[in-house]
Symmetry: C2
Subunit: 313 residues, 2 copies
């Protein structure tokens, strides 16, 4: 049964007392720059610093006690890993994370802060899978994929739900697309609550597999992981591709330079910290501003986790 808006409402009831109903900010500067009314849903202020806690919490809270007895496991060492560990901690369950030996120390430290039990793998997909299978065989932990999972997708759809609940009318919603979990959930919510509004998935040119897949109707593999928007380097799964084909109006790409410029403008003008993935939809909005004149535009700022030692300017 594919995810419906009812699933997203149920997810919201399930997780809302654990997560933040993050603020929706506006900025006269960006409104004037675009000639539109822009509403920024600030998931950079979310628990663990990213929307990922929504999907992870919904997945973990959907499990029965006996299903959760042996803990949960994932192979994302980024925001999903931290989010899953936090959600597991709320239920006093274990969380195993497979992480490449070469992962940045800052990420490993974050995972440990949330109580994850780490297993190191080599950087290859094969090694990651092998280590993951071993831990599952040993522990019986339940695997929670970062996006190829309907409970996760339902959870991610709750950010758009809160945004639309608050601002009511939107003509457009722009979300970043990596694996497609946030995009799928957001688009399902948007098309149910505001059927006439357009859902635009936003992607770095350097990781334009979703755009290629959307335009050709055939799932494309991931590109080499070079874009600065490190949260958007992954490719869609069959599941998220199917939701995106059904609910998303367009996939638009921007260059890394446009992403960095948009991110810097947000830091300077709004005085808030967003990561490059978050700046991607804003960069698309700035590029499309002619089309957006006079419109009400929602943007999901997906997260704010960035290494302050390695800023791109």
């Amino acid at each position: 049964m594919p995810v419906t808006f009812e699933d997203i409402k149920t997810a919201h009831k399930r997780i809302k007392s654990f997560i933040h109903n993050t603020p929706v900010l506006t900025s006269r500067y960006f409104d004037q720059l675009c000639g539109a009314e822009i509403f920024f849903k600030c998931e950079n202020f979310q628990k663990v610093g990213a929307f990922k806690i929504r999907g992870a919490a919904n997945a973990v809270f959907s499990l029965k006690d006996e299903e959760l007895r042996n803990g949960v496991i994932t192979h994302s060492s980024g925001n999903h890993g931290a989010a899953l560990a936090q959600a597991a901690m709320w239920r006093n369950a274990k969380c195993y994370v497979i992480t490449p030996r070469q992962a940045p120390k800052i990420k490993i430290k974050a995972l440990q802060t949330y109580g994850a039990e780490l297993t190191f793998s080599e950087a290859t997909l094969a090694s990651r899978q092998e280590e993951c299978d071993k831990v599952i065989a040993k522990t019986g932990a339940v695997f929670i994929h970062p996006y190829d999972n309907d409970a996760v997708i339902s959870g991610q759809g709750t950010a758009a739900l809160e945004l639309i609940d608050e601002v009511r009318l939107l003509d457009y919603l722009f979300v970043p697309v990596g694996g497609g979990g946030l995009t799928s959930g957001s688009a399902i919510t948007l098309k149910h609550m505001l059927p006439k509004a357009k859902a635009i998935a936003c992607e770095p040119e350097l990781a334009d597999d979703a755009c290629q897949s959307f335009k050709t109707g055939r799932l494309h593999p991931p590109k080499p992981p070079v874009t600065i928007a490190d949260g958007l380097r992954t490719a869609l799964s069959d599941r998220t591709f199917s939701y995106i084909r059904q609910y998303v109006d367009d996939v638009v790409t921007v260059s890394d330079e446009e992403i960095i410029s948009a991110m810097r403008k947000v830091w300077e003008r709004m005085k808030i910290i967003i990561e490059p993935s978050s700046a991607t939809p804003l960069a698309v909005v700035l590029k499309m501003k002619k089309e957006l004149a006079g419109k009400r535009v929602g943007i999901i700022f997906s997260g704010g986790n960035i290494d302050l030692e390695k800023l791109p300017w």
Copy 2:
């Protein structure tokens, strides 16, 4: 007539439709770190990016039309200059700013954005005064000092007013002290609204003239401008020193290392951008945490204007 709480309430009525009632944020991380309840009044989200718009707007809006006919002038090329220019623009008045030829381009650009008419001086106080006198003689503009001015002080006191209106009870209020305008206004407000609460002025060790003045009862001159908290390099005036002696409970200093560490923690944990001056009171709170256990603590984050090219890490 020295500034009273009535003046601050009047100032708030005068300026409130022009400024932001900035949000009061909380952070579980910092609460746990200090064992206290901390309320951050976020003037980094204020118009022009700092509390300075409060004092500047109150000073400009206090002038009669005929007084304002020839415009206003100041010699601060930082946040006060930008704030004065913005306030003057709201009343369609001219604003002249004397700025050292060597001022950072980013500041000059900001002043121009707000429509200031710039006159360049050498870096000395004598040259600055000479140029200022010349412009006043030529134009008849009204001089608005960045802090040695009761209308400015009354305006600065409105940030604490909004904070206490929102959170009601506080045991302590920590504010950064440079020239003493924000400190004076905040302490007058605090001692009127919450007479038992303590007002603590927070200063970099490298610019500890206010601390020295407070402890010796004799006004000390400014230190060489070396602290990273560039908004706090100025010294008190007789006027602000007198308010501080009357209303402030203590002046506490911290090292630049403590300021940078506090600032970084805010960026990483709260995902908001504050400038070093703003981090100074938080650094003091972190240092005094034993004394603050279980208390309700207010902190004014004074601003968020920082050159992203020159971060201290």
